[in-house]
Amino acid sequence: MNQTADVIIVGGGIHGCSTALYLALRGYKPLLIEKDYAGRHSSGVNAGGVRQLMRHVAEIPLSIRSMDIWDKIQDLVEDDCGFDSHGQVLVAENNDELAIMRERVDDLNLRGFTHEELIDAQELRRLVPAVAETCPGGVVSRRDGAANPAQTTTAFRRMAEKRGARIIEGVAVTDVKRAGRDWQVTAGDETYTAPILVNAAGAWAGKFAAMLGEPVPLEIVAPMLMITSRVPAFIKPVVILRGRKLSFKQFANGIVMIGGGYLGRAYPETNETDLDWTKLKDSARTVWELFPVMREATIVRAWAGIEAKMPDDIPVLGKSLKHEGLYHQFGFSLHGFQLGPGTGYTMAELIATGHTNISLDAFRPDRFTMHYQETRQ
């Protein structure tokens, strides 16, 4: 049986659901097909960082656009998404690190971006009293914070459906092909047709991109997170230490989440991941050294989602360069959660009007091909 839609979106993470919502808000009737359930993978199990801090310069306009949406998220999806904003702080452990941060902040200012603020030791200690006395300062992005990733993704999914999107879960897309000016997508026993296709399939997007003749060097990874038992409140903003691969957040109920991008092993065919405890040991050591108050905390839970990254750590986002009516929205390289609301808005705008005010050139799908690299010399 053949079924039609205005747009077919493959993948129900935050990006797919966000695109579905914004298309529905523009009067489209999108169909989203998700092989498990919305937020099952990266989008539902990440650290929840709502972060503009420390982004690749090419991502900043998109991140700012997304942050504007986060500020009004309750109105958009009728759910507070567990979003709280106490800022995110990048801690410099020594003067060399601080010097590099100063350079960056100066550079951002020159480009017109003011969301990152250099702070001195006094302001650092005010924001993060628990940090070691020897830290000379850092960078703060005051608007930043964290949200509940599963709650957020589910909220987007629910609102998209409420606004007219059709969501199919538990069925995997197995085949995609051209049929005249349309796309024909096979999922389960059904075939769906639409003139527009969005590849928002997360760690599985590389497979689809290749199937569609537009392969990209996407790497599937399993970033690990740990959660501790409840401890008395001692830290409010999310804290990042770049040199040490550590991100640190304490929730209102007292539990602490420890991240930093240490990688386990992913098995995308079976939706499984394995933890690498030797790396988590290094993470624990870092926390132990930097936050003595955490030394007796217990790790009660650890996990790793299935995520995908690009070699330059920025996503593939925008029109296909090979096919009319095909769009890509994947490869968010361990930091796509905050961008979700903004990419959905952008994708819907691009599809509806043919253009968007943000430059997506850095995110082109062909940027790793020989052809692109030669012609761009």
């Binding site: 038992s229 409840r230 401890v231 008395p232 109920n253 007292g254 108050v293 007796e296 905390a297 217990t298």
Partner: protein, 99 residues
Amino acid sequence: MFKRASQSEGHAVKLTVDGAPIVARQGDTVSAAMLAAGLGEPYRHTAVSGVARAPYCMMGVCFDCLVTIDGVGNRQGCLVPVQEGMVITRQKGKREIES
């Protein structure tokens, strides 16, 4: 809540709970000793809502026996054998970390 059966035998072991001395028996776990000393009503208060709890399973799966032993918190008292001079502190709400 519990009393020793007359047929049972064992050496005495002295420890303190919240500063007060109790006498346990060799072979007791910390939780068993506390229950035998009448310290099960309540045994602790949860970190979620502060409601009163006491050990339920006594075999390390329910986590309702959490107690601080010699300064280390969130220990499953039903898995730790008593030792002479142990200092036990009951947990009320979010665990206090010794600085």
